[in-house]
Amino acid sequence: MSNLLHLLWTFSVLSVLGFGGGKGIIPEMHREVVESYQWVTNAQFTQFYTIGKLVPGPTTIFAALIGYMASPGAPLLGALVATVGMFVPSSAIMVGADVMWERFKTSPWRLIVSRGIGPAIVGLVWASVYTVSKGVSFPAAWPIEAQNWTNLVPYVTTAFVAVAMMRTKLSAPILILIAGALGTLFMRQ
């Protein structure tokens, strides 16, 4: 029971702080669910984040998977509680804001706030790169030798996806599936 309350509280706080579409909450979420509560491992955290990017809907739906693991006695309930925590508080704010919005809409503060908070969100996304990388085990790539050339595949895949995401129209799930296929072929050990 107390686990469910911890889940609800943890994700509710993240929900309320999820400015910028929730892009910035990954490092804080990791700190709570991997380091403090140890509900999931580094590898699981990154894999769940990956699944969140693969399925339709908001990425932060992967909170459900963390809730699922955090509540072994009742995984479905854990998933539900985490999802409610992740989505309901921010949604309630959205409903409540509608009234104030009519006044705020034309105010210059609207742009000042959303532009002003931008650099912090982008910095948080860079920190997320570090967070997500903790769950990926890169093999030693140096020195390069003919018999272990597959060690290079994870590095090349990372670079390929980053560039393809910026330079092509391939969607995030397609790129993850391509990377997954490369993984099945070359990253089994």
Binding site: I51, G116, P119, L124, W126, S128, V129, M187
Partner: protein
């Protein structure tokens, strides 16, 4: 697009039923991925005459300013504008229940097959892919801030204190968000002065 432009400005039809709202957002949330969703919502909502384009764009701006996934916030706005709070609840359920069910299936498959070596390899590869996506996203977002060196310094500092020193999110938003807002405010004031005759 041309259909929209040709429609008379007062083309609003009767507001949708709660079921229609839920079904519309359920269809979008379970099929559209990432960037495509805003466009599909706009198409559905404006084309069906639930609201006009300006009202929709207001909602998009609000959805982006407030915390929470933009798509979910936008769905709630559309539900609320057409059918009040019950509409907002219908939109919330429509936009969140299908992704929840889909990820539950993914979770069940995960617990069953994650230790299979082939699946394990696929998960490792996919994780590397998600890392690449995050890097690409970070580069793109940083590029948008490139014309203002103070913002670049701010975002770099944020990345360091969060990544290396684990500064709590609330503190990050208050300090770095706060400095960013003050900076943006001073900039708009300066721009205002220059523009004055």
């Amino acid at each position: 697009m041309s259909v929209e432009a040709a429609a008379p400005p007062q083309a609003r039809v009767t507001p949708p039923s709660l079921l229609q709202i839920a079904a519309t957002f359920a269809a979008i949330s379970s099929t559209a991925f990432g960037g495509g969703q805003k466009a599909s919502i706009r198409q559905q909502v404006v084309k069906q005459g639930w609201m006009d384009r300006d009202e929709f764009m207001d909602g998009l701006a609000l959805a982006q300013v407030l915390p929470g996934p933009n798509i979910l916030n936008l769905a709630i706005y559309c539900g609320q504008k057409t059918r009040g709070v019950p509409g907002a609840v219908a939109a919330f359920l429509g936009a969140s229940v299908p992704p929840f069910l889909i990820i539950l299936i993914a979770g069940a498959l995960y617990t069953k097959y994650a230790s299979n070596p082939w699946v394990h390899g696929a998960l490792r590869g996919a994780s590397v892919g998600a890392l690449g996506l995050t890097i690409g996203n970070a580069f793109e977002l940083s590029w948008d801030e490139r014309d203002d060196w103070i913002k670049i310094v701010l975002l770099a500092l944020t990345a360091v204190v969060v990544g290396l020193y684990k500064m709590p999110l609330l503190l990050v938003l208050v300090i770095f968000g706060g400095v960013g807002i003050v900076h943006e405010f001073l900039k708009s004031k300066r721009a205002g002065k220059q523009a004055a005759p």
